[in-house]
């Protein structure tokens, strides 16, 4: 029975990552009332920018490069976790500026617009980095594996699960315990309230969009060593993330987290017994749940359907 544990760990890791991507996505849906299909592409972009930063030719001013390369890998990795999302955040801001025209209009607009944006970003990635797979270098301490109870465990999975859970916790703190979070929640409920409070709504939306994008980019960097970096990793992530949201119920924080873990476990466990079919399990899960619960596990009626 115990040999199932590593698969549970894999599933949990994957689930937390899906949840992380889904949360950034959901913040954007909440405040813009638009679906950002480019979320996955920004996630992929995060992985590629991380790759570039940790590679031999970082995209930094020439005089900084030497200093940067001289840093130990651990430091560079830790800094990359912050710098790469910031850079991707700029791309996110560009998407947000295009999306502005769709606010207050129907979700299909945003959906189509960001489908276009996703195409553009993915194609830009292909043109810049080519179509081959890359491997992201990570510090020694979090790579490799160890043997415990006669089973091989991947250190990185523990790290990935841990840091994802940590970031999810931070997001929760930001949303629940800070004035910024209170405004975001109020705005998701009714954007008029935000205006009435005298807050610049378009700046708030830009900030939230960048925040959501950064969460996707961080997830991209964390996922990279597990999946490898390739152009269509965006789609591989964005579909499960959307699915997590629909499954958990649009607009529910813990719905997204629990659905993420559920999907991760479904994929991880089915991967253990029928790896060929593991991706199928999450779709079957979705069909099973939505057939009986029209709005997912924790969903309420949402702007996206009414």
């Amino acid at each position: 029975m115990i040999d199932i544990l590593p698969h549970i760990l894999n599933g949990l890791t994957l689930g937390l990552l899906f949840a992380l991507i889904a949360l950034g996505f959901m913040l954007i849906v909440g405040l813009m009332e638009q679906i950002n299909l480019a979320h996955g592409s920004l996630f992929a972009l995060g992985a590629y920018v991380g790759l570039q930063l940790l590679g031999p030719k970082p995209p930094l001013p020439a005089d900084w490069t030497a200093t940067w390369i001289a840093l130990p890998l651990g430091w560079r990795y830790a800094l990359t976790l912050v710098i790469a999302p910031a850079i991707v955040g700029i791309a996110g801001a560009a998407v947000e500026l295009c999306m502005r025209r769709t606010y207050g209009k129907d979700p299909l607009y945003g959906l189509l617009l960001t489908f276009g944006a996703a195409m553009v970003i993915e194609e830009a990635i292909r043109l810049t980095w080519g179509t081959r797979d890359y491997v992201l270098q990570v510090p020694q301490t979090i790579s490799g594996g160890f043997i415990f109870q006669d089973l091989i465990w991947s250190t990185y999975r523990f790290y990935a699960a841990g840091i994802s859970a940590l970031i999810i916790g931070l997001v929760w703190l930001v949303i629940e315990k800070t004035p910024f979070g209170a405004i975001v929640k109020a705005g998701a409920h009714d954007s008029e309230i935000v205006r009435a409070l005298g807050i610049n709504l378009s700046r708030l939306r830009l900030a939230v969009f960048i925040f959501g994008t950064m969460l996707a980019a961080v997830a991209g960097i964390i996922v990279a060593p597990i999946w490898g970096i390739r152009p269509h990793m965006g789609v591989d992530a964005v579909v499960p993330a959307f699915l997590v949201i629909v499954l958990g119920g649009v607009g529910s924080f813990w719905g997204a987290v629990s659905a993420g873990i559920l999907v991760g476990l479904a994929v991880g466990l089915s991967g253990a017994y029928a790896s060929e079919w593991s991706l199928l399990s999450m779709y079957i899960l979705l069909v099973a749940v939505v057939t009986f619960r029209a709005r997912g596990l924790f969903g309420k009626k949402s702007v996206l359907e009414a």
């Binding site: 607009y109 959307f242 779709y283 359907e305």
Partner: protein, 345 residues
């Protein structure tokens, strides 16, 4: 309104003047396509994808159902055609009927689960089913050949009993596909303007109202989905003949996205011919821009963004507006409200 305005004389016609002009133009394509630097095979592709896009628009434009997994049914058609040819019969007609029924059956199966859903949940369920069928196609090596595809599919001869046409050359196959296209256009035009089509369009405009008028909404939604997927499958079968093979690629989420894109870019929400315009634009852009730069998807993506932002009524809508400039505003508004309706409950 999708198609002719319901009260124009064209709505009651079986064959309209526009159809005749379009068919005539299409019939001349093999005569000149090579001279402008393109190739006859492109014509086949355009016709097949037009059949596919018109069938898809029955769901998206007429009934207002956001289906993002239609590629699966196109692909199922392609595989069904090959498998029928290998295992059942080498009669073209039998194979095409089996192809259509197989895809319609798969569509009906999906429809049973999704037809009670609306808006975003509907969209996601279609994605889920698309992915399920796609995964099955990729993973069932022994049946579909997996990622390598199902190869050696033959272009069976079109046997009419008294005369039989060989379709091996691209030109004769082109005319065969054109004949199918003609039949599908007539059928879909009639269907769109029949009482059934009216009800579908009413459901698009207000599902709630239609239900309170006594219409069994889910059954309409399910039936139109099955019809649309069946015809998409037929197009897939023709595509398998064209390519002499069937590949899982057409079932992917990307490809399902492209059919949505073609339909919308062309103006499928406001015009019967919109999907055809979209297919022309997309495939010719692919070849023309693709010949100039390897980044054609980048440019097409940007073009698409511009269209969504500024011309939600699509190319066909914009073109009609230029012809009839007084209606430009109305058409634009129509495009917008048609988009809106897709996601209203």
């Amino acid at each position: 309104m999708n198609g002719a305005s319901p009260n124009s004389p064209d709505a009651a016609r079986l064959i309209t003047p526009t159809m005749l002009i379009v068919w005539l133009l299409l019939a001349t394509i093999p005569l000149w396509i090579s001279r402008i630097g393109l190739y006859p095979y492109l014509g086949i592709e355009i016709l097949i994808w037009s059949i596919y896009a018109l069938s898809f628009n029955l769901v998206l434009g007429t009934a207002g159902l956001p289906s993002f997994g239609h590629g699966a049914f196109f692909g199922i058609g392609a595989y069904a055609f090959g498998l029928c040819q290998f295992n059942v019969s080498s009669n073209l007609w039998i194979c095409l009927v089996v192809t259509t029924l197989a895809a319609a059956f798969a569509g009906a199966l999906a429809a049973l689960f999704i037809s009670h859903r609306r808006g975003i949940y509907y969209a996601f369920m279609t994605i889920a089913f698309g992915q399920i069928f796609w995964t099955i196609a990729i993973k069932s090596h022994s049946i579909t050949g997996g990622e390598d595809g199902l190869l050696k599919i033959a272009r069976l001869p079109a046997d009419f009993g008294f005369v039989s046409f060989d379709l091996k050359s691209n030109v004769s196959f082109y005319y065969f596909v054109l004949a199918v296209f003609v039949v599908i256009v007539i059928a879909l035009w009639r269907l769109t303007h029949s009482p059934y089509g009216r009800v579908l369009s009413a459901i698009r405009q207000s599902e709630t109202r239609a239900a309170h008028l006594g219409y069994k909404v889910w059954f309409y939604k399910a039936s139109v989905f099955a019809i649309s997927t069946g015809l998409s499958g037929l197009a897939g079968g023709l595509f398998a003949m064209a390519q002499l093979a069937a590949f899982p690629d057409v079932m992917s989420l990307h490809q399902s996205g492209y059919i949505v894109m073609m339909t919308l870019v062309g103006g499928g929400l406001v015009s019967f011919w919109g999907p055809v315009v979209g297919v022309f634009t997309f495939l010719i852009a692919r070849d023309v821009i693709g010949a100039m730069t390897s980044a054609w998807m980048l440019w097409f993506g940007l073009l698409f963004i511009v269209i969504v932002l500024f011309k939600p009524e699509g190319i066909a809508g914009a073109f009609r507006s230029i012809v009839d400039s007084a209606k430009a505003k109305a058409r634009h508004a129509q495009g917008m409200s048609a988009l809106r309706l897709l996601f209203r409950s």
